[in-house]
Amino acid sequence: MSSREDRSANDPLDLKTPPGVPAQDPGEAEDAQAGGSGSAPAGRRRGRADADRRDQYLLRRYHLHGDRKARDELITMYLPLVRSLARRYASRGEQFDDLVQVGSIGLIKAIDRFDLSRGVELTTYATPNIVGEIKRYFRDKGWSVRVPRGLQELNIRLNKVIDELVPKLQRAPTINELAEAANATPEQVLEALETSQAYNSISLQASPDGQSGEEDAGLIDYLGGEEEAYDTMEDRTTLAGGFAKLDKRERYILHLRFFEGLTQSQIAERVGISQMHVSRLIRRSLEKLREEIGDLDNPLPPRSPDGER
């Protein structure tokens, strides 16, 4: 590292650092957060140092000179960090894109509030801001209507209890069994079940572990073995009445419930999601069907064997 680089990196008023420093690798910011620089290879350390200098330069441009382009550039540079953090939470019931949007707000706040005199890296400051914004979003927006915290907690507890009881009992639990296992009254269980409809469903388009994989690789892709079921289904008359407008997962779940006769718990086990989630998906799919064709009870006529109506 040259003496000039040393000076420019440490002097918050130095605005002469050339902006030709390589832009930060999208995945590197979080790597640096997780692993620290002590064990990083020399090349990576150098790249990180370049990126830090560039951050400092842009932050100074923005904070000391009001350069909005520098701010925009920082936002663009750190969007991969936002995506990386959002991916961790993508399997918890919200769309990945929504989480990226919310996380971006955290990033912008971090850039706007960054204190040049503190001498910390932008990634160090931005990461908790982004995560905090995502967590706040879950707390505030996960429920589409205001549900008391006690019922939210019971609802979450019930999800776990159902998952534990179904394999243990080899059947769906009763309300009383749920109440006993969740340390609640049957009335509270019913109320919590009622409020569960207010919670947004987990999207199977989300990454299954929320931490890795391609953005568009969702849980539905892990149901690959069931693809033949879709084909079989399409050979039948079930595509009538707007069925084709549902996505694969919705068609599959409705097919299992209404044509194969599986219970919600059995579907939950087969698809690998909770019974309460299956319940919400069935309702949502039926609602979509109704919106699509206007009235479930005035559907298009079933297809004839040769595919004509």
Partner: protein
């Protein structure tokens, strides 16, 4: 012994949660499984929503009979031929009200009721395996 519970609520979508809570309570007393209770909720919701779309109603009137082995829900006071057709038709190849009710309930019966008709939905308790 059979218990009779009569429920009358305004004919609106906002009354459905109340109906569900009552049915859930009865289902709990009968020790119905969570799956069965949820099926009942969906069946009743769909029937009452269809009734709302088919005719002008002031109230939903439901009579629930609970005995040791089943829950029998009767929704009455309907007059719409359209609703009658929707419920009574043979299930088609798509998920219509007729098919939904028959998949979600153990029995679905349309009974004459003066000038109109009522729809009876029955759910039996399945004894848990020992």
């Amino acid at each position: 012994m059979t218990e009779r519970i009569t429920l009358e609520v305004p004919a609106s979508l906002s009354a459905l949660p109340t109906v569900r809570l009552v049915l859930g309570g009865l289902g709990a007393r009968l020790d119905l499984s969570l799956d069965d209770v949820d099926d009942l909720f969906l069946a009743t919701d769909r029937l009452l929503e269809a009734a709302l779309g088919a005719e002008d109603l002031t109230d939903f009137r439901l009579v629930c009979l609970v005995d040791e082995s089943s829950l029998r829900i009767t929704a009455g006071g309907f007059r719409s031929q359209r609703l009658r057709d929707q419920v009574a038709d043979t299930p088609g190849g798509c998920i219509d009200l007729c098919l939904l009710l028959r998949r979600l309930a153990d029995e679905v019966v349309v009974e004459e009721d003066g000038d109109g008709f009522r729809v009876v939905i029955v759910k039996h308790r399945t004894k848990p395996a020992p």
